[in-house]
């Protein structure tokens, strides 16, 4: 391979969806034998870019060059044929088949009569597995392998085509430290073979450990490329979050009331362990951490969707057992869930009915639901939250993300909870609505609600919280007040580094 020509180059890529410019003139290249990180907040455009590269989306404008040859990626098979391979977050393997059959999925070597040439299949698979130095063999059933090993199978699959570029999307999310080392060795090996590697991740520690260059996307735009050896986390964060680095702390001060919710030693199997914290009325506690840190699982447990394996939950000082969401709601807990479409809304129903759903039993006149009372609630929250919709009859599925989120928030506010948990309040929402929702959260605290905000966006969590709980791998690493928190210490805490390793 020619080492001076990029293995892969994207130029001027534009991709729009109805109402959203997901990629705006993005250019980017990867050299053979380099590990190039692609970073950006949620919604910055990373996965859209990768889907364009992988042949799942066709770009509206721009070109892709493979070893400087202009190429159109028409499908994932085509992309693979051109030497561009993905290792996804959700593994695309068939559990029931063997490792060999998965590696050669769709390309099983044949004999006459459509029979599989098993000898050839296993021989070729063994050869590939040998180069990766893995602990399992070609005949193992994939479903019996650990996640880390399944990932190895995916990597092996990439190697069947002698790839030019391999793209890793958050590969370490479910790996132990030992498994991560193995992965990094494999990546180093690929590197030495001249494969160009794109590494998508949020984890600074890893990025600074294994990558050569870092490129950043923000709001669908390319923001710049840095050489890893010559930069630091602050500079990268700066690129990711914006020039006016709005890391302003939460500035408001108001009275805080009694402890509304207390959690002691709460555990749920492998998901989280020994979690303890308190939330007072009038306080916003932010939970920050990476995917898989256990934050959403804690919220789900408090809301009655999971049974804890140990520990206790106290509401207003009294220990309670929350058996179901119905139970939680009755006790005054509301949860604005992480995935508004799958968990927060019935997309086929209208706005009003979605908002009044949890309390529909209480809104009756005789045996029937009272239209008037329902519409009144809808009107109230439409005004309070500035929900843009032609009317209450509008099907919720037709609203924009921001307005959909407001419907979900309105739904739960209308329950007048004492404890409100909001999981990723502004995911996938435009900037304007984002700040509206942040102000709303602060207002709620001022009104005396006890609020928990779970977020993966640092500016957000810094901006709205009175206190921040940093989680990593199912445990609480540290708690910060809004005065004492710093970006560095926060990032270190959620990356698993304890206080004594401060740079």
């Amino acid at each position: 391979m020619n080492d001076h020509v990029p293995a892969l180059r994207l130029e001027g890529i534009v991709k729009t969806f109805p109402g959203v410019r997901a990629l705006d003139d993005v250019s980017f290249n990867v050299m053979p034998g380099e590990v190039h990180a692609l970073m950006g907040e949620n919604g910055a455009g990373k996965s859209t870019l990768m889907k364009v590269l992988g042949g799942i989306y066709a770009p509206d404008a721009g070109r892709i060059y493979i070893a400087e040859e202009p190429t159109e990626m028409t499908s994932p098979i085509h992309a693979k044929a051109k030497g561009v391979v993905f290792i996804h977050q959700e593994l695309s393997l068939a559990d029931e088949l063997t490792v060999a059959e998965n590696i050669f999925l769709g390309e099983l070597p044949r004999k006459s009569l459509g029979r599989v040439d098993w000898r050839k299949l296993f021989a070729e698979t063994d050869a590939i597995l040998k180069t990766l130095n893995v602990g399992f063999n070609a005949r193992t059933r994939v479903g019996d392998l650990s996640i880390a090993n399944q990932q190895m199978v995916e990597i092996a699959r990439a190697l069947t085509v002698d790839p030019r570029a391999v793209i890793f999307d958050e590969p370490t999310a479910s790996l132990t430290d030992a498994e991560k080392s193995v992965l990094f060795e494999v990546i180093a090996d690929l590197k030495s073979r001249g494969v160009g590697i794109i590494y998508i991740s949020h984890r600074m520690e890893e990025i600074f450990k294994i990558t050569d260059r870092i490129s950043v996307l923000r709001d669908g735009q390319y923001r710049g490329t840095l050489e890893t050896a010559k930069t630091n986390e602050e500079e990268v964060t700066h690129l990711m979050i914006g020039r006016t680095l709005d890391l302003s702390r939460n500035a408001s001060h108001h009275e805080m009331g009694d402890v509304a919710l207390e959690v002691r030693g709460l555990s749920c199997g492998d998901l989280f362990e020994d979690v303890s914290f308190k939330v007072r009325r009038g306080e916003v506690v932010g939970f920050y951490g990476l995917v898989g840190a256990g934050r959403t699982e804690i919220a789900e447990t408090i809301f009655g969707l999971r049974d804890p394996s140990a520990g206790s939950i106290l509401l207003d000082g009294e220990e309670v057992r929350i058996t179901s969401p119905q139970d939680a709601i009755r006790r005054g807990i509301s949860l604005v869930p992480e995935d508004r479409k799958a968990q927060g809304l019935v997309l086929g129903m209208n706005c009003r009915d979605n908002i009044t759903l949890p309390q529909v039993d209480d809104m009756t006149a005789g045996p029937f639901v009272s239209d008037g009372a329902e519409v009144a609630i809808f009107d109230l929250y439409r005004d309070k939250l500035d929900i843009r919709t032609p009317g209450w009859r509008q099907t919720v599925g037709n609203l924009s993300g921001g307005n959909q989120q407001k419907i979900v928030i309105g739904k739960w506010l209308s329950m007048h909870p004492s404890v409100l948990i909001v999981d990723e309040p502004t995911r996938g929402i435009d900037v304007g609505s984002k700040s509206e929702i942040h102000n709303l959260i602060r207002d709620l605290a001022a009104q005396g609600y006890a609020v928990i905000v779970i977020s993966s966006e640092m500016p957000e969590v810094l901006h709205v919280s009175d206190r921040i709980v940093a989680m990593y791998s199912g445990r609480i690493m540290r708690e910060f007040t809004s005065e004492e928190v710093t970006e560095d210490s926060l990032i270190q805490a959620i990356s698993g580094l304890t206080g004594d390793k401060v740079a």
Partner: protein, 333 residues
């Protein structure tokens, strides 16, 4: 071994354990309640059992593949009946009058063709319209049955060809003709599922359809082939049975789909697709036939059998769910 593997092994072994339990139960119960003097586990009785398993067994084997795909076929009973009618009636058609006994292979071919075509219709509709297989075949269950009734109204269709009957009643190497067909089908399908690309792709498509599609596997033609296969097998089953019986009623084959699905699910294949085995289905077929025979042996009638089979299907679903529980870490949705 992790709990997944353990669950799989339990399920794979389960069907054979169940059969053993049935044999024991009916043998013992038979001592007290039997209608006849014969012991339940009489050798001839068991041979007969295999023969009687053939009609539903052949269909169930085909259903296994369709279900591994993640589909289902509710029209097999109607296809069975229609193929039977074509088989028997075509032997009386004037065009074939001069063929004598050579009409037999011709009629067989026509019947098998009928089944294959009916299956192809289902397969094409599923492929091209994207409508779920269960609705497509639910409608076909009605539509094909309509064709059956349209053929000869509510009258039976009959024709006896003694050469054919002799062949069907014969025994080769101690096993009945029908049994040979059952075992032959099982062997062929087992080879297909474990040794051919088509068979391995079936698991891939059922397991992780997106991955299969992204890997370039063409799902549409694959489905079409499998529906044609089960249509063919439904017709084969009819050919095997009616060659001997010589008379078909328009209501015949009713609920065959239920029996076939029960055998498949009993054998451990999952409804969601991607998992299943021909051998296990064979076990399921034998288990069900044992049940029928056993209940008959102790004096229970068809009504009890219907009741028991229905409840068994439900019980299997329940057990399947219990063995698949993900434990405390699952959301209580």
């Amino acid at each position: 071994m992790n709990s997944d593997t353990r669950a799989t092994l339990i399920k794979q072994g389960a069907i054979w354990a169940f059969i053993a339990v049935e044999l024991a139960f009916f043998s013992i119960a038979g001592e007290f309640l039997a209608v006849t003097d014969q012991a339940f586990m009489d050798f001839d009785n068991m041979l007969l059992l295999l023969k009687q398993s053939a009609p539903i067994g052949i269909i169930a084997l085909g259903m296994t593949i369709v279900m591994i795909n993640g589909n289902i076929d509710l029209s097999v009973g109607a296809t069975y009946a229609l193929a039977a009618i074509v088989l028997l009636d075509s032997m009386t058609w004037p065009i074939f009058a001069g063929l004598g006994d050579w009409v037999i292979p011709v009629s067989w071919a026509l019947a098998l063709l009928t089944g294959t075509v009916l299956g192809a219709v289902n397969g094409l509709i599923v492929w091209k319209t994207g409508v779920d297989a269960f609705i497509v075949t639910l409608g076909a269950m009605l539509g094909y049955r309509g064709l059956v009734f349209m053929y000869n109204g509510e009258q039976p269709t009959s024709h006896l060809n003694w050469t054919l009957v002799d062949f069907a009643e014969a025994q080769f190497l101690g096993l009945h003709t029908a049994t040979w067909f059952l075992l032959g089908t099982a062997l062929v399908l087992w080879l297909v599922m474990t040794k051919t690309v088509h068979g391995r792709n079936a698991y891939a498509i059922g397991n992780n359809r997106e991955a299969a599609v992204n890997a370039g596997i063409r799902v549409g033609p694959h489905f079409l082939i499998n529906f044609m296969l089960i249509g063919f097998l439904a017709a084969l089953s009819a050919v095997v049975f009616y060659s001997e019986s010589g008379s078909v009623n328009p209501n015949d084959g009713m609920l065959f789909e239920l029996w076939a699905i029960t055998a498949v699910v009993l054998g451990g294949t999952k409804l969601m697709g991607g998992y299943g085995s021909i051998v296990a289905t064979l076990g399921g077929v034998i288990a069900i036939q044992l049940l029928r025979k056993g209940l008959g042996h102790i004096g229970a009638g068809t009504e009890t059998v219907n009741l028991v089979i229905g409840l068994i299907l439900i019980a299997v679903l329940f057990l399947d769910r219990q063995l698949n529980r993900r434990g405390r870490e699952a959301l209580k949705i």
